[in-house]
């Protein structure tokens, strides 16, 4: 074999949602892909699910699969397994075997995406899953709920086909459980999927009683808190208790659960059915292959990635994405996959891909042939925001040779990461950040505009034009893609004596101090961390996500330096999802005290003589008030949007009610904005940790490659067109378009719709009071003629 580097061939192992996304993004960027799938169809876990949370994406999974199967750059190998891999980074030789033959293939890089398998609770004897038919796993329940299942969507319990009236879910089966589950990790997704299952049942049959027994409700993702509130409003019952045993009710097929309630009283309830919310384990075959390839695994047997490189394994040329990388939800798996693609792009070098038609089911039902126009792509990117997410995306694209312009409003790069000392794993952030800033600043393809802002944007995917202004000058750049990574803000607390007592810190100032002079805190005798300061209450009904891990990390660091220190973390739900659970456990082993509080019983902070602090909290275990006299208090205040209305308007991106950017309503596109060619990364989407911001920044680059690698892009097709003779400039279309595409230029006095931006939904056509807009293939005449022909036939 030659040692020549094979550019452009990638083997993706595992055809679930992550593998499919990686294959599609790679193929769109011009790489040829082998998608190796063990089973007889691609799609992975999702086809087995009945709806997904927080919005359902089930309808998109088939079309993704079809796209994979029909993409000329993707070769799908079904019923196939990787038997052997030789060679090295840039030139792997793999042996793949399907049912009846053995295939040898070469690949420059390998992506491991063979996902997870649900925990098998058969060995869990006190839950007696193997013994009683009415104890099912959550995966089995999905099948029972599915309309295409045996009961056609009517939920019946296995033992006697009776429609259940009372159902219980037991959380953390095979998660957060070293004893029975052999894993300390939190599976991240089970709280939400149990809520989803319960909510779907409530929606279908409101009289069914649904109860979820849980430890901490981990609703930390975007939109999850709302989803939870919605479930509670619809009568889903949440019981905070770890159930020990499930017993049969003698003389029936019902099941009895005994549990200790929050006041320590023993309660007994019987249920028609019990659902075990089983955790995510890395797929056995995938782990075996990873081991064979020499890839390091973490303590929970998921593939380990390198610090600050969320998809890079310990073996050069081998990457990982999806739930094999650690338990994650669908949206994160898709993001993870796009991030992998960008890393492979930076690793193998760019390719050139030809123009590709917009794949769209709309074309098939149009009443007339649809024509497109080929427009050259400006092979350049604009990145707004010079924080971690923005820099990672810029650097990834620059490494592939695409010129990138970074616009940062502050006078230096780095964003909020400048004030962070360590990641939750304990990795040193300042070192990483300095490396990144240096690399970005010195890269010949990257142009940086500090203290600058975007004042104008026009055009469409492949052909944007933006005006950048600073105090001295204004310039215009042309770019094919835009990446918005403008970050978020940290609120200043208005409670707990913040700003009144010098020993009450906000967490960002606290961590900056930890970088500069940790001694101040390390000498303390007693420390208090208060969680959810301004999050998950009043107008801010969302979780700021990273604060739990932050506090736990700080507690460990302080406790390690000064084991004598008493540290109290006052929390509402401990949301150390995924591997973060390991540090939560470590903190408890080190003696950090965790005390839960409720909104009705928030901690009280007072100042005694000489500025000494006093914290009173009601301990839920002792059911007594506890008084702590800390040397300092660290408040984990909420992360809020930084008021992106102006940018949102400029780039035609929607904001949610909390002011964060909203991803495309087209679903399964967590990094794409509503406007094609605009991508979103980092905290401007929602609060998140540094590693998640890195993954999103890289994913945005991965998505952008799909456009930048093309010579031309197709514009037109099913788009709305204004008849200027008829238009009276009434502004109806301007107000009704969900994508803010139509404009009425005061000088022109009539509406204009840019075909490069129009999505062809036809909403404006149906709203226009002057009938001045039509949409290609779906005009009034065409639709009415179609209706009439159907009625007269």
């Amino acid at each position: 074999m030659s040692n020549e580097k094979i550019v452009g061939s990638v083997m993706v192992v595992g055809g679930g949602i992550a593998g499919m996304q990686a294959a599609l993004d790679l193929a769109n960027a011009g790489y040829s892909v082998y998608l190796v799938e063990k089973s007889s169809s691609i799609g992975g876990m999702i086809p087995q699910l009945h709806r997904t949370y927080p919005i359902c994406i089930c309808c998109k999974i088939d079309s993704r699969g079809v796209e994979c199967l029909s993409n000329p750059n993707i070769k799908v190998l079904l019923d196939s397994e990787v038997i052997e891999v030789n060679g090295e980074s840039g030139n792997f030789q793999a042996v793949v075997r399907d049912k009846d033959r053995t295939i040898n293939l070469n690949a420059g890089a390998i992506v491991l995406s063979a996902g997870f398998e649900p925990f098998d609770p058969s060995g869990y004897d006190t839950y007696a899953y193997a013994q009683f038919p009415n104890i099912v796993t959550s995966v089995e329940l999905e099948a029972l709920q599915k309309p295409t299942g045996t009961n056609q969507g009517i939920l019946r319990r296995p033992s006697d086909n009776k429609e259940p009236e009372k159902i219980a879910w037991l959380q953390c089966v095979g998660s957060r459980d070293i004893n029975q589950g052999d894993t300390g990790a939190c599976s991240t997704v089970c709280c939400m999927y149990a809520l989803k299952e319960a909510l779907n049942i409530k929606d279908a049959r409101p009289r069914i009683e649904v109860s979820i027994f849980y430890m901490d409700l981990r609703a930390h993702g975007k939109g999850f808190e709302n989803y939870t509130n919605q479930a509670l409003a619809k009568g889903v019952r949440l019981i905070r208790s770890r159930v020990h045993t499930i017993d049969p009710v003698p003389g029936s097929d019902d099941l009895r659960i005994q549990y200790g309630d929050e006041h320590g009283h023993l309660q007994t309830e019987s249920y028609d059915m019990v659902v075990l919310s089983v955790g995510l384990k890395p797929a056995r075959d995938a782990v075996a292959l990873a081991e064979k390839l020499g890839v390091n695994l973490d303590t929970n047997h998921f593939v380990q990635t390198r610090p600050f490189e969320p998809t890079t394994t310990s073996v050069p040329g081998i990457f990982v994405c999806g739930a094999l990388n650690g338990p994650m939800d669908i949206s994160n798996a898709v993001t993870n996959a796009s991030a992998v693609v960008s890393q492979i792009g930076a690793y193998l070098g760019p390719t050139a891909s030809p123009s590709k038609a917009k794949p769209s089911e709309i074309l098939n039902i149009s009443a007339e042939p649809i024509n497109f126009m080929d427009v050259p792509v400006k092979k350049q990117a604009l990145v707004v925001g010079g924080g971690v997410a923005g820099m990672e995306s810029a650097l990834t694209l620059a490494k592939q040779g695409y010129p990138v312009t970074i616009v940062e409003k502050n006078n230096q790069l780095g964003g909020h990461a400048l004030f962070v000392s360590k990641t939750w794993q304990g990795y040193c952030v300042p070192d990483y950040l300095m490396r990144l800033i240096n690399e970005v600043s010195n890269h010949p393809k990257i142009e940086i505009h500090l203290e600058s802002e975007i004042v104008k944007n026009s055009g469409y995917v492949g052909n944007f034009k933006s005006a950048i202004r600073n105090s001295q000058s204004a310039i215009t750049v042309e770019h094919g893609v835009t990446i918005l990574a403008t970050g978020a803000e940290i609120t200043k607390p208005t409670e707990y004596l913040y700003g009144q007592n010098p020993n009450v810190w906000n967490w960002s100032d606290f961590d900056e101090q930890m970088i500069n002079d940790p001694g101040v805190f390390e000498q303390a005798k007693t420390a208090v961390f208060i969680q959810c300061v301004g999050s998950r209450e009043n107008e801010r009904q969302y979780c700021s996500k990273l604060c739990c891990s932050f506090a736990v990390r700080k507690a460990i660091d302080l406790k390690t330096k000064n084991p004598e220190m008493n540290i109290y973390v006052l929390y509402r739900e401990m949301r150390t999802y995924g591997d973060r659970e390991d540090i939560y456990k470590q903190a408890r082993l080190l003696g950090v005290m965790f005390i839960r509080y409720t909104l009705e019983n928030k901690p009280e902070v007072c100042e005694k003589d000489e500025g000494i602090l006093g914290v009173t909290i009601h301990d839920h275990v002792l059911d007594l008030p506890v008084i702590i006299e800390p040397d300092f208090i660290c408040l984990q205040s909420a992360i809020v949007s930084q008021g992106s209305e102006k940018l949102a308007k400029l780039f035609k991106v929607a904001l949610d009610k909390d002011g964060f950017f909203v991803e495309s309503p087209a679903k399964l596109k967590p990094i794409d904005a509503m406007t094609e060619g605009v991508f979103l990364a980092g905290m401007d989407l929602s609060p998140k940790s540094i590693e998640e911001s890195i993954a999103q920044g890289q994913a945005a680059a991965g998505r952008a490659m799909g456009i930048l690698s093309r010579s031309t892009i197709q514009v037109g097709g099913v788009v709305a067109k204004v008849d200027e003779e008829k238009c009276v400039g009434c502004l109806t279309c301007v107000r009704m378009c969900p994508f803010q595409v139509p404009i009425v230029d005061p000088n022109q006095r009539v509406a204009s719709i840019e075909p490069g931006l129009c999505r062809g939904c036809g909403i404006c056509v149906s709203e226009c009071p002057g009938k001045a807009i039509s949409v290609v293939g779906f005009s009034d005449q065409q639709l009415i003629a179609r209706t009439e022909s159907l009625l007269y036939s």
Binding site: K726, V728, C730, T732, M736, P769, G770, K771
Partner: protein, 226 residues
């Protein structure tokens, strides 16, 4: 702009039920923008009438058209041929347009499809509010740009009545108190002293009390000879 509202279909039907050939004429200006009588609404009115009349056992011929402005002779004249072929006209313009058609086509009955309601603007898309009464002598300069004649239910010129509560009018809680708005605006402008000035009774002679109002501009007046 002029804001109008569609009449109920049954009311329109009753007016035109005795005719066989009817032309529905829309107007492409104010009533298109306020979504009461543009091309889209003409289609809805015509289709609805066809169905309603068919249920009465009739088979009328209802045709549709929409012109740029029904209050201009040139645009109205362009309808001549089409109107000659029908028995009646249904105008979905404001009252001005209906009368223009009636004057231009004296031998054809013309019926209104809309109720012309007021002069105003959309406060939000789909919600219109009256803001001008067309009194003929504008006093907006005194009131911070907010008209007490149009926006105070009682048309009071010397301050609010006693029924203003939380910024809302006692006549309807959905209405802002015009005087509250005036007060707020003058306060912002630092012109609150203006409200202390007592205004004498308004001269309403420019309103419509002296009969139909007209404006003649010598500088632009031109007698058409066509």
């Amino acid at each position: 702009m002029i804001i109008a509202e569609q009449k109920p279909i049954q009311e329109i039907k009753a007016m035109i039920a005795s005719y066989q050939k009817i032309l529905v004429v829309g107007c492409g200006t104010c009533v298109t923008v306020c979504m009461a009588g543009g091309e889209k609404e003409v289609g809805i009115i015509a289709t609805s009438l066809r169905m309603a009349l068919r249920l009465d056992g009739k088979k009328p011929e209802i045709t549709e058209d929409c012109i740029q402005r029904q209050c201009e002779w040139e645009f109205v004249d362009a309808l001549k041929d089409r109107i000659s072929k029908v028995d009646a006209i249904l105008s979905s313009a404001c009252g001005v347009g209906v009368q223009a058609l009636a004057e231009r086509f004296p031998d054809k009955p013309v019926y209104p499809a809309l109720n012309t309601t007021f002069m105003g603007m959309p406060e939000k898309h789909g919600l219109w509010i009256e803001t001008c009464r067309g009194c003929g002598s504008c006093e907006l300069g005194r009131f911070g740009g907010i008209c007490p004649i149009a926006r105070c239910s009682k048309g009071l010129l010397n301050g609010p009545c006693g029924g203003s509560q939380d910024g809302k009018c006692e006549v309807s809680k959905e209405m802002d108190c015009g005087w509250q708005l005036i007060y707020g605006r003058l306060k912002t402008l630092n012109q609150l002293d203006q409200v202390e000035e007592i205004l004498p009774p308004k001269d309403w002679s420019t309103d419509r009390d002296k009969g139909q109002r007209r404006i003649l501009r010598e500088d632009v007046y031109y007698e058409q000879t066509v």
